[in-house]
Symmetry: C2
């Protein structure tokens, strides 16, 4: 097995940190906006502001791609747009399929930013026979039975799952068996997939819960600042070790 070194940073300029990869699309968007306004060059400071990050981070990120700037001047906008696009693999067109054309699937199909940047909706797939043939966003919906054929005929390697949670795992298995190796999952489930398949998930309720956590904390600090006590009735003593409510403690959530 001399191949497939997925872990080590390889020789050198390969092995861009994951955190950097996740920011490249952000930079690309900001650069595209500058390009449309025909701005020729931009400093790390300006670009960082536009992308919502700090400039040291941006420079470090770019340093993984190569030395694409000019000291004392900044970065050439067009040049960088090309380099980042290439690094992200957007100089080629990726056909994607969307499975599950409910409200969300339809919204995704209609989303413009799709086509604009290297992606093409190759097909819409839904399990409901009544949907078959109906056009959504100008593309006729096809039945799940056709899934394997569609994937193969179009050389699709990226699939978007927008089905109900219950169907997602099975859909992912069919996609993968047919040749898909990257999945964007909107269904609120953990997908289990074989080694080598990438999954990214987008989950509304998780995001809201994270916001709620911080929101609650803000309320608590505010109250503390004003002199009120933060934790009124529920447990959690102040002692460092040996907490844990023994048993009379789970208040009105459902248990016995």
């Amino acid at each position: 097995m001399a191949t497939g070194r997925t872990h080590r940073p390889a020789t050198r300029s390969r092995g861009i940190p994951e955190a950097t990869v996740a920011r490249l699309p952000l930079y690309l968007r900001a650069l595209t906006a500058l390009s449309e306004r025909s701005v020729p060059t931009v400093s790390s400071e300006e670009l960082a502001a536009a992308a919502g990050v700090n400039s040291a981070k941006l420079r470090k990120d770019f340093s993984y791609l190569g030395s694409y700037g000019t000291r004392g001047v900044g970065y050439d906008v067009e040049y960088l747009v090309y380099q980042i696009s290439r690094e992200l693999g957007l100089t080629q067109d990726w056909p994607v399929v969307i499975v599950g054309i409910g409200n969300l699937g339809a919204a995704l199909a209609n989303y413009g930013g799709f086509a604009s940047r290297g992606f093409r909706v190759a097909a819409l797939i839904d399990a409901d026979p009544a949907m078959a043939g109906k056009p959504v966003a100008g593309i006729p919906v096809q039945h799940t039975d056709e899934l394997e054929k569609i994937i193969k005929d179009n050389g699709v390697s990226i699939g978007v799952i927008a089905t109900p949670a219950g169907a997602a795992q099975q859909v992912s298995e069919r996609l993968i068996a047919a040749g898909v190796t990257s999945i964007l999952n909107f269904a609120p489930t953990v997908l289990s997939v074989p080694e080598g398949v990438d999954v990214r998930k987008v989950d509304l309720s998780i995001e809201l819960q994270i916001l709620a956590f911080h929101e609650q904390r803000k309320a608590g600090e505010e109250a503390a600042g004003a002199g009120a006590d933060v934790s009124p009735p529920p447990l959690r003593g102040g002692a460092a070790t040996n907490r844990k409510g023994p048993d009379g403690d789970v208040p009105a959530v459902m248990p016995a």
Copy 2:
């Protein structure tokens, strides 16, 4: 222990790492499923598998919340559901507004997982006067003019932005001015907000671009393993230092 120390880990059990917070909703979902199947206890190993993480990470995460397990046995499902819910602030109900009732906004409004877990759609808001009064997901859409009043009357602190990119910044400013302190942004823009306001973003095209990056890399490694050359025409020499195409290099993207 004066007031509002937002940065240091405080005395002790405050200061749950951000990465842990982001996983709590995942654990909660897995636990809820177990709870529905009336499973009384679960080991870190089992729960970790269900949540798609490894067990050491899960135990470490839980250790930030307190000692809620029993050695040799595992965790009590109901008890943990309650503790995590409380930690996330889901024992109270959070009213949220959705601004921008296009395809996506409607999909979000219809999304069930919303109401189920501590969130309540208090209002739908859209700038199109033609939408006003129309019910979406059983809730009548209200006009943007009412935004401030709606936020204040309902004590909304979490807003969801599903408008086009161009409107998002302005909408966020109005939400914040009216009292919102957490925003979930689906518009493909960087929002700039004052200190103390939390923003999380969900961006389809960023996720796809990250997948494309890995997809491209897979294709490259495969080719390399098979003996083919990875980088056919474009630049990027192999030399370690002193790269950067001097000027005849930007191939057919748009520049001069």
